[in-house]
Amino acid sequence: MSNVPSELRFTKSHEWIRLEDDGSVTIGITDHAQDLLGDLVFVETPEVGATYATGDDCAVVESVKAASDVYSPLSGEVTQTNEELADAPEVINTDPYGKGWIFKMTLADEGELDGLLDATAYGEQIAAE
């Protein structure tokens, strides 16, 4: 069974979002998503300073099997990306909610957080797949 931490928020497209104390968010892909993709071999992270609207494709994760888009779960500006992924994309497989984070952003509209799924809703979605 996939791990769905209760303190995070989620999207239907399998991104997770953690709200940090300074109001920024950290974003990655869920344990369920990494399990579906299999061994990750390449991650194309977004550019720092780029701005995205909710639902824009902003990163790509590639496993041996397939390439998959990562969609921006919220509107905002990218402030930092996980540089370790360039040499060790497999940390997304081993630690999707920790070392496997993909990027951080500041939000254009904090109100958008309310539109995300909580752990219960996301858990129900993946159970139904």
Binding site: G38, D39, V41, F42, E44, V60, E62, V64, K65, A67, A86
Partner: protein, 364 residues
């Protein structure tokens, strides 16, 4: 739900990720495709390939028939048990399938053809065989298991030493030879990984016990995911991706499998191949190596001087190299460098001659 091999239950018990493959429920991996790939390169892995189609052909005129049906020439098979890799072409020189044919005796040959092409292959063979009075027997009573890797042979020998007198004959097999036994077992020193090993054809009822015996010897299951990256590194074509009915062997890096001599041998598609060869083959299948980060994928465009020069037919990450590799069908005059369009970004690739990996070592 798709068709299941006799080993389906064993896959589920080993926590396989099951996917549809040409109508069959097959294991993609058992946890990590990369680990399974590395295992086959470094020790040994076991694959269920029972979805492949075994066809026995017999009759007085079977050799004459196969000389006509296949682009390679079965007259190259002088010793019983010897195998030959060949294409089966249509009248236009397109590849209906690639297959291995084993010479058992002058009246009996066995072919192993792909799973996804089973129906059309059998229909084609039956149609062509009509005037040759050939007995065509599709052996769906048989399963097929591949054990591959540098330690594969010794592991299989250990299993066989408990199964009657099979080990002695099998241990003496040369590359590309098969030993056939009275109890419907046939063991061939062939494979689709670029490593040494065996492909074992055996009665359905014997499949799970043999599988379990190999696993007990420390051979770990490997899925179709690893099989694909292993064959790509080894420079082996995949039917349906790298060649099909719209491409000839000469456009698919398979010219070496076409037996031109003797000139009087008339095989299906020969006229077209001869014409194509004398006019000059316009496209060829090459290897590509991506030296920067990223992954090459099927259908990405290959560019030279900003112009489209072809398309990737099989692309993936190569675990043994830590880089992306591909086969691509390109203009015959391509040089040593090209670019590939990955999601709108052009990346540099080196044009190379496969294989990329042989016997566990990088050769590009």
């Amino acid at each position: 739900m798709g068709k299941q091999t006799p080993l389906y239950k064993a896959h589920v018990e080993a926590s396989a990720r099951i996917v549809d493959f040409g109508g069959w429920d097959m294991p993609l991996h058992y946890g990590s495709q990369m680990k399974e790939h590395e295992l086959v390169r470094n020790s040994a892995g076991i694959f269920d390939v029972s979805h492949m189609t075994v066809v026995d052909l017999s009759g007085e005129r079977v050799a004459e028939f196969l000389r006509y049906l296949l682009a390679n020439n079965i007259d190259r098979l002088k010793q019983p048990g010897k195998a030959l890799y060949t294409c089966m072409l249509n009248e236009e020189g397109g590849v209906i399938d690639d297959l291995i044919v084993y010479y058992i005796n002058d009246r009996f040959y066995r072919m192993v053809v792909n799973a996804s092409t089973r129906e059309k292959d059998l229909a084609w063979i039956e149609k062509q065989a009509a005037s040759f009075n050939i007995d065509i027997n599709e052996r769906d009573d048989l399963a097929m298991i591949a054990v591959q890797g540098p330690q594969a042979r010794e592991k299989v020998h250990a299993v066989l030493s408990k199964l009657g007198n099979k080990k002695e004959r099998v241990a003496e097999l040369g590359q590309f030879f098969m030993a056939m036994f009275d109890d419907d077992w046939a063991i061939a020193r062939t494979g689709y990984t670029g490593e040494d090993g065996y492909e074992v054809i055996l009665p359905n009822k014997d499949a799970t016990p043999f599988w379990d015996d190999c696993v007990a010897q420390g051979v770990k299951p490997a899925g179709l995911g690893a099989r694909d990256t292993l064959r790509l590194e080894a420079g082996m074509n995949l039917y349906g991706s790298d060649m099909d009915e719209t491409t000839t062997p000469l456009e698919s890096a398979l010219g070496w499998t076409v037996a031109w001599e003797p000139e009087e041998r008339d095989f299906i598609g020969r006229n077209i191949l001869v014409a194509q060869k004398s006019a000059g083959v316009k496209r060829k299948l090459v290897g590509l190596l991506l030296e920067e980060k990223g992954v090459l994928r099927n259908h990405q465009a290959v560019l030279v001087d900003g112009l489209e020069a072809g398309e990737i037919t099989s692309g993936s990450y190569a675990p043994s190299l830590g880089k992306a590799i591909a086969f691509a069908r390109v203009s015959a005059d391509i040089g040593e460098r090209a670019k590939v369009d990955i999601r709108g970004k052009q990346v540099d690739v080196r044009v190379v001659k496969p294989p990329f990996v042989r016997n566990g070592k990088a050769v590009v």
